[in-house]
């Protein structure tokens, strides 16, 4: 069988395949060697026993290193516990969030922090607050009648 591929066809096939390889390699390197993975973690919890399950029996901010914190939070209808967090400028915060009731969202606008909070699962994300200010945290999964009031603020100073 004699397969003939036009010269221009060869060019665009090479271009397309090269582009695909570059995209996948960049994403792979960013995910596996630079930790830029989307928020996802296999960490189960009994949603009815959250109040008695460490660390969610004491939600709050804990210092785990030099300017490094762990924020244990509960997203419920219709708010976040603890409600107001304050961290210093440049702090790296490891968020651990779960829900005792329905699916919620946890999004900080204009950052890459955006994850679903599913009851029965603990979702994790890490963010470094390099600039001072007030960071709004919003629920972006419709969770019921008070969904639009579900918010909190993280103060960075």
């Amino acid at each position: 069988m004699n397969v003939h591929i036009h010269k221009l066809e060869k060019i665009w096939l090479t271009f397309g395949i090269a582009m695909l390889i570059v995209f996948l390699v960049v994403l792979g390197v960013a995910t596996f060697s630079m930790g830029m993975a989307p928020p996802s973690h296999s960490h189960a919890i009994d949603p009815e026993q959250i109040e008695n399950t460490p660390p969610f029996d004491e939600p709050g901010l804990k210092q785990v290193g030099e300017n490094e914190y762990e924020a244990v939070m509960i997203a419920y209808t219709f708010g976040y516990k603890p409600n107001d967090l304050t961290v210093p400028v440049g702090a790296t915060v490891h968020f651990k969030v779960t829900s005792p009731d329905v699916v919620h969202g946890f999004a900080i606008p204009n950052t890459n922090v955006n994850m679903m909070i599913v009851p029965g699962e603990v979702n994790h994300i890490t963010y470094t607050f390099d600039e001072a200010g007030e960071y709004l945290v919003l629920c972006n999964e419709y969770c019921g009648g008070g969904h639009e009031f579900m918010r909190t603020v993280i103060t960075v100073q």
């Binding site: 221009l8 665009w12 271009f15 397309g16 995209f23």
Partner: protein, 55 residues
């Protein structure tokens, strides 16, 4: 007698198609594929840079 006639017709058709492929120009297709490819590359880069700036 019918079979050889059909065979001859087929080979002639194949020959003429081959000739058309050889002579056909793919310049327009090439340009449109490159425009589409450029759009994909540019939009991917923009979204990836947005992601990096928010990291």
């Amino acid at each position: 007698m019918a079979e050889p006639v059909i065979k001859r017709d087929n080979s002639e058709a194949a020959k003429s198609t081959e000739q058309t492929t050889e002579k056909s120009t793919l310049k327009g297709t090439f340009v449109s594929v490159m425009i589409l490819g450029g759009f994909l590359l540019l939009s991917w880069l923009l979204v990836f840079m947005l992601f990096l700036s928010r990291q």
